[in-house]
Each structure stands twice: as structure tokens, then as C-alpha cells.
Symmetry: C2
Subunit: 355 residues, 2 copies
């Protein structure tokens, strides 16, 4: 009982995050009739009488998901809430409540937690959500945050799963992409300079937009309201946390369809393009694999195209195809390249993320 | 931005866990009309149409809440789920779903997580609940688990808050107390012996019941069903995670009442009594301050006494009084001693807990 039996050891790095979760949870049956959707989407869906609730949870670990060397605690609190609200939005629902748990080592004074909670409170105010619970305890190392967010609707039809896309549906993305990733590159460069010269005063102003995309992302609750006002029901939806490429593959796999993504349609902010040039990073790659933009990626019926046409917040970047065609990037040169998931592998070392 | 401004530092140890949470969350307003109860009970209560949902979350940190030196991973998975189900039960509701998040360092192979999930799956099967989501990521040290549990009802009257107790209500506890704490003492002693002599084979059989109380606690879902079948609506309720004394004080504070707890009524298993004698621990103290028994503590109207009288799972241990009388232990000798919270302070060092 007190010894370790290490007869067989499979390193976690050998599995990807999604493969690991699938492996661990495959033996868990769904028993409750109120469980409408379990593991495998941005949020689970539970029925309560005539209502439906989305519930989603994320854990953020210091040194893995965030670096307090360049992340102010107030921003961290804000971001920890927002990334979970984004998952509720990705079900086409408006978030309403969160719980916030944290474990912190004794290196953090009360004043640090107050800063963190200022950010949590700011997110709550900004999104009109309530912090209804949580847990606060000590850790043996660093800070760990776990946030759970919920949203509700009285209309089951409003819920957008990853699995509803059909061939010929249009692929749409909100906002622009690659900013959070390039913001991270800027922050890391400044941190390296600071290590060499502690008197260095970072001038982040020229990179304001992309640094903010990294440190203070927003959940696109406004897009959910916009789609409702336009009377557009997405056929499928996901939020962009791991990068456009990975999220498109999720939609394709869940829906059993293929996809053509057009490189020249991918929305990029001018600052992302200029910073990519400065850092010698391909801007398409920043959008495809950078992640953490927390924009919404969704599909709509072609019949709805006229409703969204010309909206500055929405860009049609491709269309879904038959499953056999696969998921492909159509380059500016007209070549078709299979999309590969280069999103973040939580246990791997290959992808360049905030770890 | 990159430097630490440590102009003022208040150590977290200076505050208790409950004081810390109250301090950090006091500035967070409740904005959503669907939030019926936020922070301050065993679970939050959210309304969804004509239904009501309880949601609760707990974080368990290796080296703080559990010691893998004597906690099998399967038991840990079971316990992590059960302690959250217990919080839903403490609202007088039946739990239905959980999410399970975890962060693990690379010292854990896949096989370890499989063991953990065997326990999670066992708890899900035992309690008929679904695991509907979660997050699996890496940590820089040790294992951190965060579980969120929910339950629902279509009857708001069924919900038992901490705040409903009135003077003259009877104070009732399920099962028996002190077992989990004494089980922990036995496990620690065996671990110390093992450290000195690695060939030592622990014989835990004579302590089976109390070791199981520590390693594999149960949520008293059966008591919720029993109370419903007896048509007893508790006026207030809480689960015993921190020790009887601390939980009684929570009920008294939330309800604005006092309490007389009778020492000779506290239910103790004979094995708890004999192990207390062996370890020279006062058995009343083990029940009052030991914690982790996960029994339900609740108050009922005196009118309901006849319904529960003689039930072997329920013991009347006292009665509520006017607020001015305070919360007191009436000893076997007839003395009245004010109850003090010696429950676990997550940041303190005073209380002897699994840390």
C-alpha cells in the first residue's frame, strides 16, 4: 500500500491532451436523462425542466498557462474568467455565473490575491455575470486557478454544438486572429531584455493591441447577441483557444465533414502583420496555430449569408465540404494543403505556447 | 511591469480560510436575477425557469489535502468526487453531474491517472451521477484536482440552507463522527513505521472501518432520500467536512441562533472510542474537530421529532437556542462550554489535518 508499483509506465507526453481525456473518460457512461451533452464540446449541456444549462470548466497553472513575470495578477483574474465565458459563448449562449477556485503558495501575500480578485470582479462587471462560489486553499508551489462557468437558455434550438455543420455551410470567424500569439512574443522579448538589464523600461505602447489580446482577451458575448438579432442560428460553433487549424479540425471531426479554408480570407490586424514581419513569423501560421484569440468560429447555412454580409465583425473564411475531401488550407497561390492540428498539446513540448 | 512591488505584504496565514474568502469576494455584487444564493452555503443555488440547481466546487492539492504516501489513487478519485456530492446533499438535494479537472506533473504515468479515473468512475456508478466535463493539464509540481458538482430540483421548498434554523429546532446528525480523523492517525502511524522499516507490512484490518472512513468517505445521499420519504424538511443543513464544532457554528451564525450540543449524545463508533483510547485522543475532540466525516448535520422542527425517532442513522445531539445564549457544549458532567471552531484553517498550521 505504501510502495509505488511502477511495473508499467506510459509517459503522459506520449498522448495528446484530447487523446488523454478521451482515453480516461471512455469508460464513464451517461446515466442521467438530464445530461444532454457530456464531454466533447466547449461545454456540457444539462436539461432542467424546460430550460437548458451549459457548464464548462478550465484549470490554469502558473508556469504552464501563465507567467507571472509578465502577467499582472489583475489581468490574470480577468483572463481566467473570460476564457471560461468564451466556452459558454461557444455554445451560442450568454454566460450568467462562474465559480472561482484557487490554490496559492505562501509566497503570495493577501495584496496579490486582492489584485487577482480585482480582475475577477472587473470581468464579472464587464460581462454581467455573478461569482457564486469557489474554493480558496494553499498550494505547495505556485498558483492554480480553476474556473467553472454556466449559462442558460429556455430554447434548446439556440444551442450550437460542434457537430451540426453540413457540407456547403459557410465557415465564419469573428474579429481577427494571431494577435494573442504575437502579443506573447512581444512580452517574452521584453522579459528577456529585462533579465539582461533590469533598468530597461519596456515600451509596449506600439504593440498595445496585440499585448492586450494576450493579457486581456475578451469573450465574444457581443457576437452571440449579434447573431440573435440577425436571426442567424449557427449550425456549429467553437471558440478559438488553441488556434484556427485545431478548431476547424474539431468542427470537421465532430460534424463528419471536410472544409476548405482560404488563406487570403483569414482576418489579420495590420499590427499582427507588421509584428509578424518584425519577428519573421508567417502571419498565416500565427493565425492557424497561435491560439488564445478567443474569437468564435462557426458555420452557417448559405441561406443566411445575406444576413451577415458586410458585417465588420464577421468574416467568411471558407466553406464545409464532404467528409472525404478532408480539411484543407487553400493558399494564396491556389494550392490545397491538408490542415494539421498544431494547437497546444498540454503535455507535449512541440508547440510554442505560454509555458 | 516586470518587477515585484512588495510595499505591503499581509501573510495569508494571518486570515482564516472563511475570513479570506469573505474578504476577497465582498466587493462582488450579485447581478443575475437567476442567482438565488451565491457564496456562503455548501452550494450556490441558480434558478432556471421553474427548476433550481445547486452548484459547488472544491479543489484538492497534493501535500495539502491528501498524501499519496498512504492514499491509493483510486480512493483519491472516489473521495474527490464524493466530497463534492456531499456538498450538494447538504442543500437537501440529490447530485446528478460533476466535472473533474486535474493538473498533474510528469512524475505521473498514464497508469496512475487510469487508477484515479477508476475511482472517479466508481463514485459515478455508486451515486448514479454523470461526469460531463473537465480539464486535464500539466502541473509544475504534484497533483491538483478540482471537482464541480451539481444537483437539481423542481421544488424550491426542498432546498435546505444554512440559514433556516430557529430556536428550539432539534439538531440532528447522520451516522457517527470522529472516524475519518482517527483513521488518518492510524494511516500516519503506519507510514512512520514504514519509513523506518520498508519491509513492514501494515495490518490495517483491525482498523478497517475508520481507515475506510478516511480513505473512502461516502456522501449521505441516502439520508436525503430518507428525509424525503419521512416527509421531514430540514430547517437548515450543512455537511461535516471541517468537524462538528465548526459546522455547528456555521449554522448558528447563518441562522442567527445559539445551540446546546450534548456531549453524551454525540454518536461514536466503538472502534473510534477504542482507537481514541489507544492514541490517547479525547473522543469528543475527535468528533468536534476531526472533520472529514461527511455526515449531514441539520435542524428540524420539534414537530418532526416523531418522524425520525428511533432511526438508527439519525441522532438528535442538541437543540437550537436564542442567539444570545451562544453555541455551547453541555459536557457529560453538566458543564456548559462555548464551542470554538477548530476546523481546518487552510492557511494556518494550528490544526492537525491531512497536510
Amino acid at each position: 500500500m505504501f510502495d509505488n508499483k511502477d511495473s508499467k509506465r506510459t509517459q503522459l507526453e506520449e498522448l495528446g491532451e484530447f487523446e488523454l481525456i478521451a482515453h480516461l473518460t471512455e469508460a464513464l457512461p451517461i446515466l442521467q436523462p438530464s445530461t444532454r451533452k457530456g464531454i466533447g464540446d466547449d461545454a456540457a449541456i444539462i436539461s432542467l425542466g424546460s430550460h437548458f444549462m451549459a457548464i464548462t470548466t478550465d484549470m490554469l497553472v502558473e508556469g504552464v498557462h501563465f507567467d507571472l513575470g509578465f502577467t499582472p495578477l489583475k489581468h490574470l483574474g480577468y483572463k481566467a474568467v473570460v476564457v471560461n465565458l468564451s466556452d459558454v459563448c461557444a455554445m451560442n449562449l450568454i454566460p450568467t455565473q462562474v465559480t472561482v477556485s484557487m490554490a496559492v503558495s505562501n509566497r503570495f501575500p493577501l495584496e496579490a490575491l486582492e489584485e487577482l480578485y480585482l480582475g475577477i470582479g472587473l470581468a464579472a462587471k464587464q460581462y454581467g455575470i455573478d461569482v457564486v462560489g469557489g474554493d480558496t486553499t494553499s498550494s505547495t508551489k505556485g498558483m492554480i486557478l480553476s474556473v467553472t462557468a454556466i449559462g442558460q437558455t429556455d430554447s434548446e434550438k439556440q444551442i450550437a454544438y460542434r457537430s451540426g455543420a453540413e457540407a456547403n455551410d459557410l465557415l465564419v470567424v469573428s474579429g481577427d486572429l494571431g494577435g494573442a500569439y504575437m502579443g506573447l512574443q512581444v512580452l517574452r522579448r521584453e522579459q528577456e531584455v529585462f533579465k539582461v538589464n533590469p533598468n530597461h523600461q519596456p515600451d509596449l505602447e506600439p504593440y498595445h493591441y496585440i499585448v492586450e489580446r494576450q493579457l486581456k482577451p475578451e469573450a465574444r458575448k457581443d457576437i452571440i447577441a449579434l447573431l440573435e438579432s440577425l436571426q442567424v442560428q449557427p449550425t456549429s460553433m467553437i471558440d478559438i483557444s488553441d488556434g484556427l487549424s485545431s478548431e476547424i479540425l474539431h468542427l470537421c471531426t465532430s460534424s463528419g465533414v471536410g472544409c476548405n479554408l482560404f488563406e487570403d480570407k483569414i482576418p489579420l490586424d495590420p499590427m499582427v502583420i507588421s509584428t509578424c514581419e518584425e519577428f519573421k513569423v508567417d502571419s498565416t501560421l500565427a493565425a492557424l496555430s497561435g491560439g488564445e484569440d478567443y474569437e468564435l468560429l462557426f458555420t452557417i447555412s448559405q441561406d443566411d449569408y445575406s444576413k451577415i454580409k458586410g458585417n465588420p465583425d464577421l468574416t467568411v473564411i471558407g466553406h464545409m465540404t464532404e467528409k472525404g475531401s478532408g480539411a484543407n488550407l487553400i493558399t494564396r497561390g491556389g494550392n490545397s494543403i491538408p490542415l494539421t492540428a498544431q494547437g497546444w498539446n498540454a503535455f507535449g513540448k512541440g508547440h510554442d505556447h505560454a509555458n
